[in-house]
Symmetry: C2
Subunit: 347 residues, 2 copies
């Protein structure tokens, strides 16, 4: 199996270094033969080549069996709304070029982190949500433009039925293997693209009679997610609403530093933390590598079908947390200072 | 002063009835002369006239000094994505016709409700956020259409600089009178309309040198809002992001049933709960009327400049909560059953 490591920007390098170490250890323990390569994306790619997704990176991506991804982004561009070339373009172009239309974000709390969240433990205990975020459509890829001498700007939220259908089917199938509940999130009381989304969900529902479907508006969903996370099981939604809800849901898992995601579709899968490049802590060895480690578990499971290997990784994370070790972001006032680890030590 | 009561759908009638009783009592106590009228909007207006915002309602609205609003919406339309006439159109058309471009949503927790939230009391205590949601632009009012024999649908997120400028100015001015911190929320790493938004905020900032400005992406903001609500003071954002964030923020106030909003702009102000029509509890006398009561406080303060009257209403809500009275949505397991009140009793 050939794995491409794409660290990207900021803490991406630190956390994927740990992710790769875990892959190496798994290969050794389970007697696999993994080969590795590296490639650039985002701000570091712009600096080196002028492009946020160099042709060479794309070529390497297409021939890999799986991609371990870090993060992209740089504050420089955030404060310069007029920059024409931006790190995020590399990420979006990768998603589109590789046909990564389904972004899976499992939200599950490790028991030991019950207290790391701002939400009450009794609200959280037992919460287990699997998000399916559509990843290659919506306002991320619709036409955008300045008009009127730059004084007006628009973006286009757009969906076609086939795009909705393929992600909603994946969500229905996952719901079948879990508690058979699917929640679809949209804003159908206002948006035409949401009404199309809802029509597709309603049209597919009869093919999955064993799955109970509910529809929520995005505003209500954002509220219910923290009011009563246990009412959700599988959630499917568009690209923009999924971006917002899954970041919000990170509080259910105690910290953004714990959440992994899998982006899958037509070919090579991409596995990455849901956190960003976090330039404020870059290079300090403070980043929590567990989201990258858990991304490795998803990679082993989904792209390679290595269930035992994936479980071994999850068990290791569990054991380390049980032993009381924490990175700073998931530590609290009762954590003894000698149990607070840096990125490499936690790895 | 002439006040138009527009109950709308579902529990709108029950809660505005209480709101109006409070207005009548204030008039009596403070010796004011308020006159009242009523008008239809939403589903009830469609049933009666075929239109979600009848001409007669609009005429009455234009000549009122303030409008006390209930809610709109009906499940019938939510499950029928193809309905051409919808209750929400009445709400959106009202916002546009009356030029209600600024929606103010104060999020403040009454001490007595610290435990009603799913968020930990120590995270919430002291949180006090004032949202400015832009209300007459964005994807709510951009062009939307079906293409391709109905198989593709799009909506347009669109902003012009003058629209952003007028709401951002209001937010800067409010920040001046509070703790001088303004957070602007956008998705400028992806959206052109957000880059325009951010440019306007950056261009105005030098005129308010006493206010510290921060920018957050919507996904990060949705996470930070529950991780650490106290870091926010005044928040300004677009129509769609504001819809999502303020519903989410209702958990900070313990319950959606407690949150009032003011929509202001060129002329008559509209005051309404942020909750919806809640057809599941309509007609049962279970709805929490306090959001409508607190909307009355905003109405007295903002549209009439009656500060003492507004404070009297807030104090009354506070006293009732201190005395232990609750509606079902804000009660908990320690509330004694005889303190759980219906809509009218709470009023
Ligand atoms: C960096 C940004 C463009 C990206 C997104 O919005 O998709 C990120 O927030 C994510 O969720 O992967
Ligand atoms: C009913 C709906 C159209 C409305 C909105 O999205 O603006 C509501 O959620 C609100 O926030 O007032």
């Amino acid at each position: 199996k050939h794995i491409l490591v794409v660290p990207g920007d900021g803490i991406g390098a630190e956390v994927t270094t740990v992710g790769k170490q875990v892959l190496e250890l798994i290969a050794q323990l389970f007697d696999h033969d993994f080969t590795y390569d590296e490639a650039l994306i985002g701000h570091v790619a712009i600096e080196a080549t002028g492009s946020p997704l160099p042709e060479e990176t794309l070529t390497k991506m297409r021939s890999a069996d799986a991609i371990l991804f870090g993060a992209v982004g740089h504050p420089k561009y955030d404060n310069d709304p007029s920059a024409k070339v931006r790190p995020e373009q590399g990420l979006l172009q990768m998603r589109k070029e590789l046909g990564l239309y389904a972004n899976l974000r499992p939200i599950k709390l490790f028991d030991e982190l019950l207290d790391a969240s701002s939400i009450k433990p009794e609200i959280l205990r037992g919460a287990d949500i699997l998000f399916f975020r559509e990843l290659t459509g919506d306002v991320y890829f619709g036409k955008r433009e300045r008009l009127d001498d730059g004084n007006t700007a628009y973006d286009t939220m757009i969906y076609s039925k086939y795009e909705v259908e393929r992600i909603v089917r994946k969500a229905f199938e996952a719901a079948r293997t879990r508690s058979k509940k699917l929640c679809s999130v949209d804003k159908a009381n206002v948006l035409e693209s949401s009404r199309l989304w809802r029509e597709v969900v309603q049209a597919l529902a009869p093919e999955y009679p064993d799955v109970t479907v509910e529809h929520q508006f995005i505003d209500a969903a954002a509220m219910l997610l923290i009011k009563d996370p246990k009412r959700f099981d599988v959630v499917v939604t568009g690209n923009l609403f999924g971006d917002i809800l899954t970041d919000e849901a990170s509080q259910i898992a105690g910290s953004m530093g714990m959440l992994a995601s899998a982006s899958i579709g037509d070919s090579t899968g991409v596995y990455e933390p849901i956190h960003g490049s976090a330039h404020d802590i870059t290079g300090k060895g403070l980043a929590n590598p567990l989201a990258s480690v858990l991304s490795v578990a998803l990679l082993l499971d989904i792209s390679f079908g290595f269930k035992a290997e994936a479980q071994a990784v999850i068990d290791a994370v569990d054991a380390v947390l049980k032993a009381g070790y924490r990175t700073r972001d998931i530590a609290n006032t009762t954590t003894s200072p000698d149990k607070i680890l840096g990125t490499q030590q936690m790895g």
